[in-house]
Amino acid sequence: MPTLASSRANRVRILAVLCIGVFLLGASDDSSRLDRLGHRMMCVCSCGQILMECNHVGCTYSDTMRHELASAIDGGKSDDAILAEFIEKYGTTVLAAPTHSGFDRVAWLMPYLLFIVGVGGFVAVVQLWRKRQATAPRVAATGLSSDELSRLREQARKETEL
């Protein structure tokens, strides 16, 4: 006879299998390389927009750049080669995000370092508070003055939001 714990574990397993199964359903075609690469670059006309989204009337850069990108893709070049070619021609600011090499890596690592520091700080604060709580002297529950009772009532009211 299955125990309560094993039946609960089975239910969790079935749910997990269902979720993974649904998650893996189907796969669409590769998205357009032109669109993908075009969204990794900026228009260099100082508009501050992604290359594929620059729509300035009379922008002298974006159309040319898009044509160059399309030609490079048609020419069978790899993504890295195309990006390197654009950096050489338009400078490092043509890339919409820092690369994953050299000092640029700092930009990518920073958020996760901050996250680790933040979560570490959170855990440290929680541990410290709990430790202090455990060592704090317990107050006897009886013999409270009416002021103390009023204060506790007020605290209870605040904490229960009633």
């Binding site: 501050g48 995000a97 050299g102 958020p111 901050l114 939001e161």
Partner: protein, 683 residues
């Protein structure tokens, strides 16, 4: 008139300097003479508002009367500019917008100073802090960015005109909203610093500033949302948020301000996080000033920034003074900020608030470090890099989703400790509902259109969209469950129907339930954003009768017209939209050329449904063929974003209402109460 304007600004500087110096002196002594000096300082602060209000009025009047002898009016207005935009001239340039900053700051100071009876000592301290900030802005206006400078040489017959991108109705209200938010954080900052300086006992300053902070936060939220709406409907690139440094500058204080609004509850309810709250509001104010510096100094390039100027140094000096002042008083007086209670359980409202604060601050730091990284890169590598939307999207979205999870979970955790049983009771059905929504979104065919048929394996963006949809559903379901649960309890006690009981519940604790409504708004905003990876666009040169297909829609160019006004000439396309052969609507995208500035502007035409927007832009004409270029975007779910903002603002307004008296049920039978039990146990 320019001389009168300049004189009024000088007077405002003198009055606020008096208010600051004599107000500060009066704080040290409590005898009659010093009380009188303090009163004169308060009145000087009030008078400074009148002076700057008149100066602002003179500048606006100069715009309406086409007084191009004032250089600022010449640069930002012209004769044919429509009336509302002439009014907007006040904040459309560097000098005018600083005057507007000072005007709003003095306005807040005015309200604070006339309400001084609430707590004279605390308000006197806050008034001095506000006066100090006023002095800084009046120094700027008198010596570094003078709005009443005269035009050199002969007075021109017409002005250079207002930037066309600013000639849009929202631009008349977006900057004031944003500035009301930015400037408004000076008030809680002033109270916090005042409370720290005087070692103000208790948390009354928190209660006093709660409404100020919420109103300010509401204005800032509204300002940011209006900015996004303006970007969407005016810039014509089909998006609403581009992670531009100026956009980020407005987001940073919003993030820390939101963290403050949450963590302040821990101080009110449990006497915890006093130091944290104090610093959070200091940082929020510092970020408001930093944002103003970022927008105006030219240290980062942005299409929204004001022209590069020399006022950056002033802001750096001011930020240094703010930091030094806060650190100084904190080091001297921090002992009074001792926490009254400790955390009892990891599964509690306190720890969820703490983690929520960590996440808000983390997103703020990530956005800030990303904004400043190009400068750092230039120092270290010798060349600039671009930190654009792909970076910000990939590093902030996971944290934002974690925050959304906390939005669902946090409010339902109890103070002090939450049992597993209570967790299960509160979340079981909401979690099941959220999972069901996820399964539906994946299992449905893609032909149903976004957001259905999500394939999270194909694209990280789709995966995030799926998570966002499930978490948004979790937030909405938990909030509805909470309303239902509370409503049922009240219905049982009062005998009213459920809807009335839910309304009573909301009225009984407006802050809590208003906050829940804000959370629903946030969830709706996430729904609006999650469609982004599924955006589609198509571009085509379209002559008469040409068609372009985008998603289920077929766009047919019917004709083109021209419009000529004194302010601009416009080319307008008339595009018929059909879906499966059925007529849907006609769209009129326009391309304008402004006469005074000779700058072009797109005016997109949008067909909006809850499923998404069909957003059509007249991109201009191909210079070689002369044929019009039409670009169409299909942006799924975007209207949910605007709906979410409205719900969020509604929640903020609800939270500002005073609570109704607690509902008491009437006992229907007499109860014998022993005399000894009732004595001393009064309510």
């Amino acid at each position: 008139m320019s001389q009168i304007g300049s004189f009024l600004l000088l007077l405002a500087l003198a009055l606020s300097a008096y208010s600051f110096l004599f107000g500060a002196i009066a704080l040290f002594r409590r005898d009659t003479l010093f009380i009188l000096i303090g009163e004169t300082a308060r009145r000087a602060g009030i008078a400074s508002f009148v002076a700057v209000l008149l100066a602002g009025g003179i500048l606006v009047n100069a715009a309406f009367s086409n007084d191009f002898s004032i250089a600022y009016i010449f640069q930002h207005s012209n004769r044919d500019l429509p009336g509302p935009y002439k009014f907007a001239t006040l904040w459309s340039g560097q000098e005018g917008s600083l005057l507007f900053w000072a005007l709003l700051l003095s306005g807040y100071g005015f309200v604070l100073r006339i309400r001084h009876k609430t707590d004279e000592r605390l308000f006197a301290h806050a008034s001095v802090v506000i006066a100090a900030v006023q002095v800084f802005f009046f120094l700027l206006l008198n010596f570094a960015a003078r709005p009443f400078s005269l035009t050199q040489g002969q007075v021109p017959l017409d002005g250079a005109g207002l930037n066309p991108l600013l000639q849009y109705p929202e631009m008349v209200i977006h900057p004031p909203m944003l500035y009301l938010g930015y400037v408004g954080f000076t008030v809680p900052f002033a109270f916090a610093l005042g409370a720290l300086i005087m070692k103000y006992p208790g948390d009354k300053w928190i209660h006093i500033t709660r409404r100020w902070t919420m109103i300010t936060w509401g204005f800032l939220s509204c300002g940011i949302a209006l900015g996004a709406h303006w970007a969407y409907y005016v810039l014509g690139w089909g998006g609403y948020w581009g992670w531009d440094p100026v956009e980020i500058a407005s987001l940073l204080p919003w993030l820390t301000g939101t963290a403050f609004l949450h963590s302040v509850m821990m101080q009110e309810k449990r006497g915890m996080l006093k130091t944290w709250n104090m610093w959070l509001i200091f940082i929020t104010f510092g970020l408001c000033i930093f944002g103003t510096f970022l927008t105006r100094s030219g240290v980062v390039s942005s299409v929204h920034a004001f022209a590069q100027s020399s006022i950056g140094g002033w802001f750096v000096a001011f930020l240094t003074i703010i930091a030094a002042t806060c650190i100084f008083f904190y080091l001297f007086n921090h002992s009074y900020l001792r926490t009254e209670h400790r955390l009892e359980s990891l599964v509690s409202r306190e720890s969820s608030f703490l983690f929520n604060n960590v996440l808000f601050l983390l997103i703020c730091l990530v956005a800030l470090s990303g904004t400043l990284f190009p400068i750092l890169s230039e120092w270290i590598q010798g060349h600039k890099v671009t930190v654009g939307p792909p970076y910000f999207n990939s590093v902030t979205v996971p944290f934002a989703l974690l925050l959304l999870l906390l939005t669902a979970v946090g409010p339902l955790l109890a103070w002090r400790k939450t049992s597993l049983e209570s967790l299960k009771r509160n979340f079981l059905w909401s979690t099941v509902g959220s999972l069901c929504i996820g399964i539906i979104l994946i299992a449905t065919p893609a032909s149903w259109g976004p957001p259905f048929g999500l394939r999270p394996r194909d694209d990280l963006g789709y995966f995030y969209s799926l998570l966002a949809a499930m978490l948004a559903a979790l937030v909405i379901l938990t909030v509805f469950a909470e309303f239902l649960r509370g409503g049922r309890v009240i219905a049982r006690h009062t005998g009213n129907n459920l809807l009335t009981s839910i309304l009573q519940l909301g009225h009984r604790n407006t802050r809590r339930y208003g906050g829940y409504v804000v959370h629903i708004g946030v969830a709706l905003i996430f729904i609006g954003v999650l469609g982004t990876p599924m955006n589609r666009s198509a571009e085509k040169e379209m002559g008469y009768g040409d068609t372009v297909q985008i998603g289920p829609y077929t766009l047919t160019s019917r004709s083109y017209t021209q419009e000529e006004t004194p302010n601009y000439t416009g080319d307008k396309a008339i595009i018929d939209v059909t879906k499966n052969g059925q007529f849907v609507t006609t769209l009129y995208p326009e391309s304008r050329m402004f006469t005074a500035t000779q700058q072009p502007q797109h005016v997109p035409s949008v067909h909006s449904l809850l499923r998404g927007d069909l957003y059509v832009v007249f991109e201009g004409k191909n210079p070689e063929t002369g044929r019009p270029i039409i670009k169409a975007h299909l942006n799924p779910l975007v209207p949910w974003l605007w709906l979410g903002v409205l719900v969020m603002l509604l929640g903020t307004v609800l939270a500002l209402f005073p609570n109704a008296a607690p509902i008491r049920s009437v006992a229907t039978s007499r109860v014998r109460v022993p005399v000894h039990a009732s004595a001393g146990a009064g309510d």
